[in-house]
């Protein structure tokens, strides 16, 4: 993996710039080049401008500020010689064959032997790109197609030509996999590769059929969002995100390069509405709006959506369809059979899209699993097309197509006869191949997936909220599987169970799940319910239980490793804080966010953070320093926006591991757990030197300034005051009399109970539950 030491990205557009940013995230020095701007004094202006923009992008393109320093802005007129010591040169310029090839000749003159050149093209084929180029170039050339935004989209489509060196492919594949965290899907050299080929078909179909069926954009998005597991966007919302102009370009290029009998040609149509919208600046979210827009002017504000027939904007309405209700209750199966326009819409779009996908294997990719991964990771579909077919029933789909008098693709017919595209045989997931046989779904070397383990056996213990799995080599995995993996009393029961089971013949515990998030924290609904009936003892008991169980994990005789990914908030963050070590996916968003709902961390979060910051030798000395830092971090409910940021804020220790590839999280956490098990000794409790009332007064001063600046509300002040009381060690604390961990836990509980009884805090909790957003009151 050490072969790629320096990378160059040529083309500082949206994709090129963001690819460079992600290379910076990976810690690789990267040159970002573009052409000379017209009549500009600063010859690097384009690349520099792109970098500046990337620093402000939302969601952030950079994982930490430091990453931006690794990127050097340059231009192709003055700095081509910089390419001489570059290991991987990524071309991400305009989608024009001639321009690209002109650039390749320039690159070829300066690049060193053994370097690799790749194109980020989404529409051009490799064969055309290397046609007429020297042999050396063709051998070192491949297509690496990133998805936008490259930091967050895990798919990398990789196309190698017939003469591409296998070791060049391996170097890039390994680098993308290990260092950039990509799932690399090998594609054949066909137009649009996998994801865009099927994705564009689906989008075209989704728009055209919505118009034909007379669905509003809200209805279409609700239905499609539900069926594909893309609830936030659906089809029209996704187009707004991608950009309507880009959609038209992609369509034009497919119309040109796909053969006349490709089904895409039959479903695609010119869309005058889209052209009109683009002309008026409605290119999507990057423009004035798209199918949706935010009405900012006038007396009322709110969302508007376009009427697909008139082309006028009108206020959005909540879609009401029987099929939608049925789908929500009974799933895709029921939705697609429903006779109303929603059901018909899903059937038409899905049957065409899935049939199209089935007809494209093995033309575009070696196997159906590759196609499924591409659609999941490139288009965020919850399930890939072949998984969807299996959910509907391959037999059902084939039969219904037949009933409709439509052609059934060969692969689908075969799979239908065999019983579907996937099956579990001897505890192993297998997929159906064009040869008519099933093969094991391939996994990367060493990868351990809980989903595979689950297929092979039964849990050691389970309840409605969590399970314990034997993941081999003496390691037990605690899996939380509530909604958003929130923590509830059943999770506590399972931790208690783990505390029994692990010492009875196992070495360590790993806390891990394969959902989107590690844990969004305590189940607030339960807390609110208890508060509404003034069941204060119940709440206090829940606090006690959480503190005791987390303490028990921390001081247990075996090591506990947390495997973080996605959100780890509030009580979820506190669970991580009590682990002996954390292995974090780089996209971990860790934070103590209790103040946002008018509370303070009370499952040991304040205590653990005080311990960490107090013992961190890099932080300034003195009793106030850790307290002041935490007052800010917890008081402002700051959530780290990457695992690197989590280290800066102290949620992760300097020794905690950060990895880029999500698929390796469990195996890495397990490895760590095995290492720690050798001669493990639980940590010693420490006493904390805290400033007491003097520190509270100091924080009070800071708070007063915030109030004056109107940056804090009256209730913010109350919450921050309670937090200050905990962090400073309470009224009896004094710098010469260190405070015990138990005392800080007691203060946490007292502050929490005081706050949870206030109207303003309850209003915050209710608002969070209803809207998912914090209330400022």
């Amino acid at each position: 993996m050490t072969e790629i030491k320096k990378v160059a990205v040529i083309g500082a557009g949206v994709m090129g710039g963001a690819i460079a940013a992600h290379l910076g995230n990976a810690g690789v020095p990267t040159v970002l080049m573009d052409i000379l701007p017209k009549a500009a004094k600063n010859r690097n202006a384009i690349a520099e401008g792109a970098l500046e923009k990337l620093l402000r992008t939302e969601p952030p393109a950079f994982m930490q500020k430091k990453a931006a320093h690794l990127i050097t802005a340059a231009n192709v007129e003055d700095h081509l010689d910089l390419l001489a010591d570059i290991d991987w040169i990524i071309e991400a310029i305009v989608e024009d064959l001639k321009t690209k090839r002109n650039l390749y000749w320039l690159i070829e003159k300066v690049r060193k032997a053994g370097s690799v050149v790749s194109s980020n093209t989404s529409t051009l084929q490799l064969a055309k790109l290397v046609d007429g180029m020297p042999e050396r170039f063709a051998q070192d050339f491949l297509i690496t197609h990133f998805f936008n935004p490259p930091r967050y989209m895990r798919l990398l489509e990789l196309v190698a030509g017939p003469t591409t060196r296998p070791d060049a492919v391996a170097v890039i594949r390994d680098f993308a996999y290990w260092c950039l965290g990509k799932t690399v899907v090998p594609c054949n050299d066909t137009p649009g590769f996998i994801a865009n080929r099927i994705g564009a078909f689906w989008l075209q179909c989704g728009v055209a059929e919505a118009v034909d069926e007379g669905l509003s954009v809200e209805e279409a998005d609700a239905i499609m969002g539900l069926s594909m597991g893309v609830p936030k966007t659906g089809v029209f919302g996704l187009l707004d995100l991608i950009g309507l102009d880009l959609m038209l370009k992609v369509d034009a290029s497919f119309a040109e390069i796909l053969s006349a009998n490709d089904p895409y040609q039959a479903i695609r149509r010119d869309m005058p509405l889209l052209s009109r919208m683009i002309e008026r600046g409605y290119t999507g979210r990057k423009g004035k709006g798209g199918f949706y827009r935010l009405k900012a002017s006038g007396r009322e504000s709110g969302n508007e959506a376009i009427d697909l027939t008139s082309g006028d904007y009108r206020p959005t309405t909540k879609p009401v369809l029987e099929s939608l209700e049925v789908g929500r209750a009974a799933g895709l199966d029921a939705l697609i059979k429903h006779p109303d326009k929603g059901g018909r819409y899903v059937w038409t779009v899905l049957s065409q899209t899935l049939t199209y996908a089935a007809a494209l294997v093995p033309e575009i990719a070696g196997d159906v699993h590759a196609v499924d991964r591409a659609m999941q990771l490139g288009y965020n579909w919850m399930h890939g097309p072949f998984e969807l077919i299996d959910r509907l029933g391959a037999g059902y789909l084939a039969q219904r197509l037949k009933n409709d008098g439509r052609e059934v693709p060969v692969l689908l017919a075969k799979a239908a006869a065999a019983g579907g595209f996937y099956r579990v045989k001897a505890g192993r997931l297998q997929h159906f191949t064009a040869s008519g046989r099933y093969f094991g779904v391939p996994r990367e070397d060493g990868v351990l997936l809980l989903s595979d383990i689950k297929l092979a056996g039964k849990p050691l213990a389970e309840n409605g909220s969590a399970s314990l799995w034997d993941i081999g080599d003496g390691i037990v995995c605690l899996e939380v599987h509530t909604k958003m993996n929130t923590i509830d009393p059943d999770v506590f029961s399972m931790i208690r169970k783990a505390l029994e089971i692990v010492p009875s013949g196992y070495k360590s515990l790993v806390i891990y799940n394969e959902g989107q998030h590690f844990s969004a924290g305590v189940n607030l609904g339960l807390a609110l319910f208890a508060a509404n009936v003034a069941a204060w003892p119940t709440i206090e008991d829940l606090l006690m239980q959480g503190q005791e169980i987390y303490e028990a994990l921390k001081y247990s005789a075996f090591p506990v490793v947390g495997a973080a990914s996605g959100l780890a908030l509030g009580g979820g963050c506190e669970l991580l804080l009590h682990c002996d070590a954390v292995q974090a996916h780089v996209e971990s968003y860790i934070g103590l966010v209790e103040t946002a709902v008018g509370l303070v961390p009370a499952w040991g979060g304040c205590k653990e953070m005080l311990i960490r910051l107090s013992v961190d030798p890099r932080r300034p000395r003195g009793p106030l320093s850790p307290v002041a830092a935490l007052f800010e971090t917890i008081g402002f409910a700051r959530t780290a926006r990457s695992a690197f940021e989590a280290k800066e804020l102290g949620f992760l220790r300097p020794t905690d591991g950060i990895i880029f590839n999500r698929d390796r999280l469990l195996v890495d956490a397990k490895t760590r757990a095995l290492e720690l098990a050798k001669g493990y000794r639980p940590p010693d409790p420490i006493r904390l030197t805290l400033p007491g009332p003097a520190g509270k007064a100091a924080l009070g001063l800071a708070l007063r300034d915030l109030r004056a600046k109107s940056e804090a509300t009256a209730h913010d002040e109350a919450v921050a005051g309670a937090l200050a009381e905990v962090l400073t060690g309470g009224p009896e604390a004094d710098p010469i009399e260190p405070v015990s961990e138990d005392e800080v836990l007691r203060l946490e509980r007292a502050a929490f109970m005081r706050l949870v009884k206030t109207e303003a805090t309850l209003a915050r909790i209710e608002h969070m539950l209803a809207t998912g957003k914090p209330l400022r009151n």
Binding site: A697, G700, L701, R704, A708, S710, P735
Partner: protein
């Protein structure tokens, strides 16, 4: 009583905290280079120096311990020269001058280096471990009031509108920019060497700022208030030093005398109105010199805030054409511990340069104090 004079003034460039060119320079090193520069420029014989009196408002971290003594070592002064660190917040290095003045008049030494330093980058306000007395904080919170609010209080009490504050800040930048362009600062500035590079230019002055740009700024402390970042002295890194000696000594050694120290004073005021501190301090100092303000030709009043300066201007009836001729702290910056030496040295230099008779240097101090020094031509 012995006549005490100022026989030399230097300072480092003043640069913005955190982003300026001195951000990476340790304050003890910064002060030492300035003290060394003063010794070299004045020609004072190092063995004759009785004491280095160094002002610093947050004497901890890199400007902690007894930083004055460490500056003696860093500046390679003889070991016989002592060092003492003085804290009167913003008035620290003017206080250093007052201490030397008193000592000389007690015949407890003939030559003193009176300096000041603050790295507001490396030791940010309010220091690393603020631990207020909890009972005092409860019973008399004004004891710990933050400076922005005191400026708002004065703006309200003296009804100083936002526009007047903006205009005053703009004028300060204009004067400073003109002085810089005319090269007026080059004779007083000691270039600071750091890792092979030299810092010799001020960094806070904004020659291109405009009424419009200032008017656009949001209030910095009180959302409903009038005081902005543009009408507050910027957080600054810098050091300054003056040579204070007996007139006899200066004449005997042939040193260039800038001004005689005629009188000194400090005065307290309510902490919530700390910016008005210069008024009573000035009145006391003038009375001790048997002078009235209209006889003063040159006035250096430290511009902590535009509102604060304008309040003093009103109370003392200061003619603006005598005030801060080469720009004030709003433009140049205000490295807390260093500003007292700067404005006293500046007033002495201007007195000499303009061949004037009397000068006044005065400043407000957090916690509710003022300090003033009256100078006269020799």
């Amino acid at each position: 009583m012995k006549s005490v004079v100022i026989a030399g003034y230097v300072r480092s460039p003043f640069t913005p905290a955190n982003k300026g060119q001195l951000a990476k320079v340790r304050p003890d090193e910064l002060a030492a280079q300035v003290v060394k520069g003063l010794v070299k420029k004045t020609g004072v014989k190092p063995d004759d120096i009785e004491d280095v009196v160094l002002g610093c408002a947050f004497p901890e971290g890199e400007q902690g311990l007894n930083v004055a003594r460490l500056v003696v070592f860093l500046a390679e002064l003889p070991l016989s020269v002592t060092g003492t660190t003085v804290n009167r917040f913003c008035g620290s290095s003017m206080q250093a001058i007052h201490i030397a003045t008193g000592a000389i008049q007690m015949e407890a030494g003939e030559a003193f280096v009176c300096a000041g330093v603050e790295s507001m980058t490396r030791v940010p306000m309010p220091g690393f471990n603020l631990l207020p007395h909890p009972r005092l904080y409860e019973s008399y919170p004004d004891a710990y009031i933050s400076m922005g609010f005191t400026a708002e209080n004065l703006a309200r009490h003296y009804q100083i509108p936002r526009e007047a504050q903006d205009n005053f800040a703009l004028a300060s930048h204009r004067k400073a920019a003109a002085s810089e362009a005319a090269g007026n600062f080059s004779s007083e500035t000691i270039a600071i060497a750091h890792r092979g590079e030299t810092v010799d230019k001020d960094g806070c002055i904004r020659p291109t700022t405009s009424r419009e740009a200032l008017a656009k700024l949001e209030p910095a402390f009180d959302k409903k208030g009038t005081v902005t970042a543009g009408t507050s002295a910027p957080l600054t890194d810098g050091a300054a030093a003056v040579l204070v000696c007996s007139e006899d000594y200066a004449k005997r050694k042939g040193l260039e005398i800038l001004a005689r120290i005629r009188s000194i004073a400090v005065a307290g005021c309510p902490p919530a109105m700390m910016g008005i501190g210069p008024v009573n301090a000035t009145r006391k100092a003038l009375a001790r010199a048997s002078l009235t303000l209209d006889t003063i030709d040159i006035i250096e009043l430290n511009e902590a805030f535009a509102a604060q300066t304008l309040a003093c201007v009103e109370e003392l009836s200061i003619p603006l054409e005598k005030l801060n001729l080469e720009g004030g702290a709003l433009a140049l910056g205000h490295p807390l511990g260093a500003s007292g030496a700067r404005i006293t040295g500046k007033a002495a230099s201007l007195l000499k340069k303009n061949a004037a008779k009397y000068a006044l240097a005065t400043m407000c101090i957090g916690g509710g104090q003022g300090i003033a020094t009256v100078l006269e031509a020799v």
